[in-house]
Structures are given as C-alpha cells and as structure tokens.
Symmetry: C2
Subunit: 345 residues, 2 copies
C-alpha cells in the first residue's frame, strides 16, 4: 500500500503524532507509506497514569496486530518494515511519567518508552519550558536524569523546552539530543520554534530536528504553502546538514478539543491557557491544505524531490536520519535476556 512515488528502500518515519488512534488512522499510515511513527504516551500523566496509557497501547497492539507493532529497540523498526506493519515508537512529551524518581527512567525504558521530553511548556523538575518567562536551566535532578537517560538508551527531546535549558541539556548529555517536532524561528518566530543558536547546537551535537507540520509552527499558519515548507527544509538542510533533519509532523487527528485543553492546561491552571492559540482562536488550527493526514506523506516527498533533494537525501530526511539517531542513542542495553518470543503481545 506504499504511495507510488516512494522508494521502497526508504524507511519512512514520522517523529511525532498524537491522534485519536483507530483502525482508520493506522490504515492511513500504511497508505502513506510509513514504516514507523513516534506516538505520544503522556503529556501530564503521572507514573500510574502512564502505565494505563501503556496498557492501552498493549490493547491496541493486540487489537490491530495486523497493522502495527511495538518498537522496543531501534532495530525493531526494520522488523516492522519486513513484516509490513507500522512500528510504534513510544515517547512522552513531559517528564511527568518519572515523577521525582530516578529509577523510573530505567523502568519506563524497559516498558518501551524510547523518547522523553524534559519539559512540556512549563517549568518541570528537570528544566524550563518554552512558555516560562525565566529559564534557570537544567536542575540538579535534571542532570541526574540526563545521565540516566544516556545510560539506559532513552532519547532526550527538547521540543517544548526553553533555550537555556535546551543548550544546557545538549552540554550535559553524553549523547545527541533531539527536537522531535519544531521548526527554525528563522522561518516562523513561534515561541515553540528554535533559534539558530539551538539548531546549530543540535547540529554540532549530531542530534536531529524534526520539522513540524502543525500550522501554528508554520509561516502563515494553516495557509502555509508546501513550497514554503520545502524552502524551510532546504534552508535547514543547508545550515544543519542533511543528516540532521527529519519529519515530526505533530499530527493530532480526530482529537476533540478536550484533548487540546488537556495538552495545554493539564491540571496546572484554573484559567484557560491557549498555547500557540488565543481566546479568539482557542481550538485546533485548520489543517494544511496539503497535509491532512498520513496519506499525504508521498505529497511532501514529491515536493521535496522537486526542490532538488536527491533520492539518498530524501531517504535520510523522510526517515533514515531517525533510524540512525535512534540506533545510536536509543539502543537500550539491559541485562541479557531471552526476552524474544513468538508473535504475541
């Protein structure tokens, strides 16, 4: 079911989605030619709630076993591709799942949590989020957690973090750090987008920037043209290197407004916080005309090809760089075990 213009040697990966998961959406991933998707397990969920989310994923892995499979190790992405299933990479957009306990990093990594953001918009126990007015950098606990994430093979994601905290995380981490879903501020100056200083540090650190297709992160919002998006990709490839970029669409499909409000407000605010929106524009943004769901990936690939990227470069941008980054950073080294058994969840 791969889109026609996609090279079968490519491994297509979307570096962030949080949709209202269903047979329809998983089928659309197949239609769009995707081999793996990084999905969000938690925004503000604490440890106990995160386990319920992981339990829900186990249920989906059972129910939709013909369409998806879990990715516990980066190498499982290749298994997914060979099996004709979409690999699901589990991640958290916040450090709420580990609460205040260093040992929970390893516990959650064993449960498959491969990527974790240190902050989500606000100050966390680890660092400062991108919507705070002051940024005092990585905390004492944050330094411990960065070291532990490095040790157990959990990727540090600074998508929703403030600048100083991001730069310090890169400095303290012995492994590359990523921005799974954001765009260069140079292209569109949203609080969530990243300064040249940050993207240069990510590049030097051999990390990865996943381009967001969330309209609030794009020039002209929902009216952003595919050509403008591709210009941004070309500019960033030039600045960071073509090995340092990927896609992190931030696709949030079929989600009710209540989910948007949970993402923005969690349990921390009595007043409504509108994130990149406003009181007069408080809902989900209108989708882009050229990217409505997973079936539109071939369209993006086609436009990037027309922009001048060759087959090799396209393969890297559309997923190869994600595979390489995860293989370098997220290969968990547990005690040896015989934990690979027949095909059941």
């Amino acid at each position: 079911m791969q889109g026609n213009n996609l090279n079968k040697d490519w491994t297509l990966i979307d570096g962030l989605q949080y949709s209202n998961w269903s047979h329809e959406i998983f089928s659309q991933m197949h239609e769009g030619g995707l081999n793996a998707v990084h999905v969000t397990v938690a925004y503000h969920e604490n440890t106990r709630e995160t386990l319920s989310r992981l339990g829900q994923w186990n249920q989906r892995f059972e129910t939709f076993s013909d369409l998806i499979r879990p990715v516990f190790q980066p190498q499982d992405i290749a298994l997914a591709k060979n099996e004709g299933r979409v690999g699901i990479i589990l991640g958290a957009q916040n450090c709420s799942p580990i609460e205040d306990e260093i040992q929970l990093v390893g516990v959650l990594r064993r449960l498959g949590l491969m990527i974790m953001q240190l902050t989500y918009n606000n100050q966390s126990l680890l660092g400062t989020g991108c919507y705070e007015s002051e940024d005092n950098g990585i905390t004492r606990f944050g330094k411990q957690v960065i070291h532990e994430m490095n040790r157990v093979g959990m990727v540090i994601d600074m998508s929703h973090s403030a600048e100083r905290s991001t730069l310090e995380a890169i400095e303290y981490s012995e492994q590359p750090v990523i921005i799974s879903h954001a765009n260069p501020s140079e292209f569109h100056p949203a609080l969530r987008n990243k300064s040249n200083k940050v993207i240069d540090a990510i590049a030097e650190n051999e990390g990865l920037l996943g381009f967001s297709l969330y309209p609030f992160h794009l020039k002209n919002g929902p009216a952003c043209s595919l050509n403008d998006f591709c210009d941004m990709v070309a500019w960033t490839a030039e600045r960071m290197g073509v090995e340092r970029i990927g896609i992190g669409s931030d696709l949030c499909q079929n989600q009710p407004k209540s989910v948007l409000e949970w993402m923005r407000n969690g349990r921390w605010s009595k007043q409504m916080d509108y994130g990149e929106g406003s009181a007069s524009d408080s809902g989900w943004p209108e989708p882009l005309a050229w990217f409505k769901d997973n079936r539109d990936f071939p369209k993006v690939a086609e436009a990037l090809a027309q922009k001048g990227f060759n087959e090799t470069e396209l393969g890297l941008i559309l997923g190869g760089n994600w595979v390489n980054l995860l293989t370098r950073v997220a290969t968990a080294s547990f005690e040896t075990t015989t934990l690979d058994a027949p095909d059941k969840c």
Copy 2:
C-alpha cells in the same frame, strides 16, 4: 562456591524469599549453591509503589552485578547458572500491584514480574485469602486476571489463598497453578498449610508445591527436626509425585519487626494482626537449628539423600521442578523484539 555435596548438574532454586537484601545475603546464596531465587517484590504495594520496588531491584542488579542477575524469562535461569550468578525471579505475594486494571498484568509481566499470588491472607479483588472466615471463590475480575496471566505467562500462586478460591483458580486456569511456599496440613494444620484436597488438585493440574521452612508452617515450630521435614517431603512426594514438589523456604533474613508488621497489617487494620503468631509471640519466629540462611541448603539436600531420594529425584526437588514449571507456564510471549543487548542493566 557450590556446597560440596551438590551435584553440579542440578539447578538449585528457592521458590520464595523476602530478606533484607545485601551483599552478605547474595553471597550466602552462592555459598549455598543456589542458582535462582524467587523474591517477593510486593505484599500490599499498589502499582506505583511496586514500580519503586522494581526500581530498587534495578539498583541492586547494578550494584551487585557480580552476584545476581534478573530473570525475565525462565530460560534466563540457565544463563544465570552459566554466568555464575544467582538469577532473581520477581514475584508478588498479592494482586495489589495490578490494582483494578487488567492491562497491568501484561505491563508488569514485561517488567519481569513472573509470579503473582491472587490473594494475601485477606479477601482481594480476585479471590479470598486463607484467614477469611468465608470464601466466596474467584471473583468476576479474578476470572479475567487468571485468563490474562495465562496469556502473558505469569504464574498463578495460591500460597496465601483460601481453599475454595484455590480450587476454583485451578479449575479456571488453563495453566498449572502453584503453591510457592506452604506445607501439607496433614503434616502441620496451620491455616496457611494446604489440605489434601488442594495438594491433590495441584498435583492433578501438574502444578507445584514448594515446601516452606518458615517455622510457623512446620510441626513443632522452630523445634521441627530436619528428619521430620524430610518425612513430610517423602510423604508428599508419594502423594503428589516427585515432579510436583520443590522448595519455597519463605526465608526472611535480617528483616526488622516493622517489615513483619507490614506483611501482616499492610494498611488494612488499625488493630495488630498477628498472622500465624499471637499477641504473646508477635515477632519473627526463632529460626530452625538446621536452616538459618541460604548456606544451609546443602544440609537439606544431604538429609533428603539420606531419606532415600536418588540423585535424579533430588535434582527435581531442589530446583529442576521449578525450572520445568516456569518453562511451561511463565515463558512470556511478547511481540518479537530485539530486546537482548550487552550486559548492562
């Protein structure tokens, strides 16, 4: 460091311990010739607290990596033996770790929880404990959990359950059920010990009974002789078959009285509950003269040999039956994954 009289072809397993874990105790396991020990992770701990307990075990696997290793699959016991380390089999003495959520069975199995009791003395959400005056059998949720434990490869342990609940668990389970640590009531009529009806059902079900060395479960308590213990083993071997019995010492070494009180009272009672003890005998029982710690296993092996068990039978009783039971029942079948990596926790 194996005890002198132990056959090197045997795999020695103790089917239950809950000690105040330390370098000293893990070293004594080596001195006693043990290859694996089933340790208790939770008595009354809820899901969140259980994760902290598992985190503490991860810390021990790091700190004492020369002495112990985790057992995620039954086959890891052979790895442990080959490496010269003691395999740690993780289990819960209660269903408190899954709270009221069916999906947590699979989540905890992935974290290595291989054995779970359905009840601990009291009524639980799944069934009735051995100290209740009435036993209404396995609950609606209990039936679901039994099925799910069968599915994901988690062993059902009825050591602290009441008779009807135990018999129903055996009836509903598609897999053998175990009593990890208790003795036949015929030998000593403690509430915690098991009627002939129960041990016959376990035998027919091809499960396993692990003999307890906890003085309250033995004839004459702390004064029980090694010869009497061996007579009980011989009687049970005759009744159940030599393939259906093992050791589950219930060794609780160096634990303060506060831990005993936690085991007995958890958070459920304002009055002190004394378990097998009494107000005038409220502490830990005196240890047996011939079984004080892990170094005494060769002594037990020697006495059983003198009782007439041959080398093959001894190998089964001292661990072989545990290996066989776990291999049949606890081989978790997850989605295929590449989750076996270098030697790190």
